[in-house]
Amino acid sequence: MMRLTLMLAMAMLLSGCNLPNPYAPPTPPRQVPGGAPSLPPSPESQTPVETLPAPEPVPEPSPAPPPREYQLSSASRSLVDQAHAQMVAGNFVVAAGSIERALRIEPNNPLLWIELGKLRQAEGNHAQAENLGRKALSLATGDPRTQSSAWRLVAESLRARGRGPEAREAEARADALVLR
């Protein structure tokens, strides 16, 4: 019951702001227009929010908008610092192990996947660097800065394999994200 009240409160709070409400049905119960990213919330789409029944016995994923900026926890931070020191000493295997320890604590943090990707790139494993960059991208929704550094990693790994045009495209995406 408390959850329900909480969710209702949150739903109303969100409806007050200009943020899409994850529980509300998508704005128009008409066609979902192609590719238009920002739908102005129409008045009728706001109304059901006030009387929103319990959506389903089980709440839906992502009840809150994704964080705007990913950060490392202090445990991850210290492990990444340790990994950097180990990389400087040329010990890539052990450095990767340190980042993997952090990933077990925060597997959904794209920053850690980018760190591991950078390590692979430094080590010369460009294919893995790209894959890890793409893994980071799949997690970095809503965080343009992190998305940008993931694209930059992808671009570097492509460039290292002589795939210039693709690299430039990835680089352009990285630039566009931070200029936005």
Binding site: Q31, T51, A96, L103
Partner: protein
């Protein structure tokens, strides 16, 4: 010259000759033995089976373990409570704070010396970590649990200890009990032999042995177990040679590492280092007086005084040892009395902390890179992903449910079996493997070797292939109608629904959630069976399945581990990560030899996989997997799929929460029907397991290319929760065109109804 004297002379000559020959033979014999004993003993290198470790528990602020749970983890590592914390391997609890004297531990990147830390917990778990100076620690790992070793065929397993790792009381106790004149004799103790003989003659049975520690060492190291006079003589000679050639301290250390102290199936427990782990689960230098006394008691007859099988005998002899120690002044009288009051305190089962199914997977992984001798002799240290807490939970969940199900079957000769694999999806770590109901038995490993028909577990692969065509989304309608398919052999295949009913047009999400066979066959045939087969391979199956139409309904035999690899790619958002048990291999000297790094390969578009995973959450919320919420808290989102093969021969459940993926199989080894559906046996195990692991919700963020929509569950029409009773939310690509339930919202486009009709017809024609 008289004949007698001649004869005497001849006899004397013969005797001298014989004596000479005997002396020469003797000299050769002793020389030979000396060469053999000295060279073997000097160059002695015990074959050191590889030691296998679980993943260490990482402590950090934010770790969601309560103070009680942490204490349970310390108990698993055999840490004992103490108020002063002077010895590593102890801890004390003060309310919500734990002070831990952590042991020295070897990791891949460092040897961490023993160190005392404090863990401060709050309602949500660990809040702070500080060392003894009050300095904040960002992260700290406990010593990894030793989970077993890879010992050779002849079964000799041991952990070698250096003299520094031996508590001083142990050699003293061995001398008091086994060989009181060890410090002074020359290998053989005549007085002890005579005394033993006297005692034995009086008792009419062998009650006392007169062997010195050196003789026992010789017997164990050089000779077999036959009890002949010739062997006795050889033993005595070799003991004298050893004594002449080596220091007493060397011999004592050799004894401590060599001697046989127990049996665990095929595995022979040698040396006090391993015996300490085997009986008490902790290092030798942490043993208490009563524990040392028990090990010394066991020396005399490891099977007769087995403390697990014959606790009364073992206890009586331990107390005798303690009394002797006190009589000879090796320990104080008060200490001995206190120790006598202690119970035996050996770890619960012979196989406690020993996981044969998991070790089997470790061994198979390593055999690709190492020769058998490297594994059984070279003293490698293997660091694995096993999570002891998850493993223990998985074992309990499976065994409890199998025992409960046993009551359903009249015939008790053949027991229902099962297997479980648990992974951490993002890292591909295999954190637990249960290979059967006898979890401590190194037998048939069903998790790896039971290839069973996967039934409906195949459906998510079919639906992923369908979504990937771009022609379908979670709301698209498919026809759940009777169908006949001509198989390659010319046979006609008439699949049926579980309920033997057809449901007509249903949205994809419902067809998957309710596991509708007819709808799925229509879908799979439209997508194309070869495309479905190829999707299996892409997700991580190491062979391409036969593109037979029956593949759509899971006519494919896979092991639980193979299923885990497939579903792991889904749980990991379309990235394939090879499932791995081994992380690192270290040499005996502690240098890293090999790492099995985390690698990812994108195998499916992550937005498409997200759509599928959203559909899989409907299986547990609305569909055949609903019963998971009998045990899992309703606010935790999990995704999964039930599976049942024809005639109920196999009961499957595969699914994941945010932090763990688990695959459970239940069935009979001889493949007879079980009468269980996927939602009965395997689902119960899965949900009990997940509940006890405090699952995190599956909460992947909505990809930017998708949007969330409510649709009516039976019809797939877009509807608000306010205007229809039975709605579910799905994720679809932003440019999807979805028909609306009449009366749900206004339609700004006048021709929308017509377009919807056409669109629907288009779907039906497919």
């Amino acid at each position: 010259m008289s004949r007698t004297s001649r004869r005497t002379r001849r006899l004397r000559r013969v005797l001298i000759l014989v004596a000479l020959l005997a002396i020469i033979a003797d000299a050769i014999f002793v020389f030979y033995l000396d060469r053999r004993v000295t060279s073997q003993f000097e160059g002695r290198r015990w074959t050191l089976p590889a030691q296998v470790f679980a993943q260490p528990l990482e402590l950090y602020a934010g770790l969601g373990l309560s103070v009680d749970a942490l204490e349970a983890e310390l108990a698993r590592l055999q840490y004992t409570r103490a108020s002063d914390l002077t010895r590593p391997g102890t801890y004390r609890r003060r309310g919500s704070r734990l002070d831990i004297a952590a042991r020295r531990a070897q990791f891949v990147d460092e040897v961490r010396e023993a160190r005392t830390i404090s863990v401060i917990t709050g309602s949500g778990g660990v809040t702070r970590l500080v060392d003894m100076n009050g300095t904040q620690l960002p992260i700290f790992r406990l010593d990894p649990l030793l989970i077993g070793s890879i010992f050779p065929i002849h079964g000799e397993d041991r952990i070698v200890v250096t003299p520094q790792e031996v508590p001083p009381l142990l050699p003293t106790a061995l001398m008091v009990v086994e060989d009181r004149r060890f410090e002074t004799h020359h290998g053989v103790d005549l007085e002890a032999i005579l005394r033993a003989a006297w005692v034995n003659v009086r008792a009419g049975a062998i009650e006392q042995g007169g062997s010195t520690l050196t003789q026992q060492l010789v017997r164990s190291y050089f000779l077999d177990e036959r009890q002949t006079l010739w062997r006795k003589i050889k033993e005595a000679v070799m003991a004298v040679i050893l004594e002449a050639r080596f220091e007493k301290a060397d011999l004592m250390n050799a004894y401590i590492n060599e001697i046989y102290l127990g049996q665990d199936g095929q595995r022979a427990i040698h040396g006090f280092g391993l015996a300490s782990q085997f009986y008490f689960g902790k290092p030798l230098n942490e043993l208490s007086l009563s524990e040392i006394a028990l090990l010394v008691a066991i020396v005399r007859g490891p099977s007769y005084y087995d403390p697990r099988k014959h606790p009364e005998r073992a206890l009586a002899r331990r107390d005798l040892v303690l009394k002797l120690l006190s009589d000879f002044g090796a320990v104080g009288e008060a200490d001995a009395r206190k120790a006598i009051k202690q119970p035996l305190e050996v770890t619960a089962s012979v196989t406690a902390g020993y996981y044969p199914a998991y070790l089997d997977f470790v061994r198979r992984t390593l055999r690709r890179d190492y020769r058998e001798e490297d594994l059984t002799e070279a003293g490698l240290k293997i660091f694995t992903s096993l999570d002891p807490r998850v493993q223990a939970t998985a074992e309990r969940a499976l065994v409890d449910e199998l025992k409960r199900l046993d009551q359903r079957y009249k015939e008790k000769q053949v027991l229902l079996e099962g297997a479980t694999v648990v992974t951490a999806p993002q890292s591909g770590d295999v954190v637990a493997i249960v290979g059967g109901r006898q979890t401590g038995l190194d037998g048939f490993n069903r998790a790896l070797d039971a290839k069973r028909s996967i039934g409906s577990l195949a459906k998510p692969v079919v639906y992923l292939a369908a979504l990937e065509t771009g022609r379908y989304n979670a709301a698209s309608l498919i026809d759940d109608a009777p169908i006949e398919v001509k198989l390659p052999g010319g046979k006609l295949w008439r699949p049926e629904n579980f309920t033997h009913q057809a449901h007509g047009l249903v949205p994809l999400t419902r067809a998957l959630a309710d596991s509708l066979n007819l709808a799925t066959v229509h879908l799979g045939l439209d997508v194309g069976v070869p495309k479905v087969a190829q999707t299996f391979t892409r997700l991580g199956l190491d062979k391409t399945p036969d593109p037979n139409p029956a593949l759509i309904l899971g006519a494919l035999d896979l092991s639980p581990l193979e299923v885990a690899q497939l579903y792991n790619s889904l749980a990991n958002g379309g990235f394939r990560t090879p499932l791995r048990a081994v992380r690192d291999v270290l040499s005996a000297e502690g240098t890293a030899l090999k790492a099995f790094p985390l690698e990812v390969t994108p195998v499916a578009d992550s937005a498409t996989v997200y759509q599928l995973n959203r559909m899989l959450t409907k299986v547990t919320q609305r569909g055949t997997g609903r019963a998971v919420y009998n045990r899992i808290p309703p606010d935790v989102i999990v995704a999964g799929k039930t599976g049942t093969s024809s005639d109920f021969r196999d009961s499957w459940f595969a699914g994941f929460a945010g932090n763990h993926l688990a695959v459970v199989w239940i069935g009979f080894d001889d493949n007879r029907p079980t009468g269980l559906t996927g939602s009965a046996g395997a689902l119960t195990v899965w949900s009990n397991l997940m509940r006890r692991l405090d699952p995190e919700s599956w909460d992947a963020t909505l990809p930017e290319s998708l949007t969330e929509v409510w649709i009516e569950y039976p019809t797939g029409l877009v509807a608000n929760p306010g205007c229809a009773d039975d709605v579910v939310s799905i994720a679809v690509p932003k440019d999807s065109e979805l028909p609306i339930k009449p009366g749900c919202g206004e339609d700004p486009l006048s021709d929308f109804a017509e377009r919807t009709r056409q669109w629907l017809e288009g779907i039906i024609r497919q």
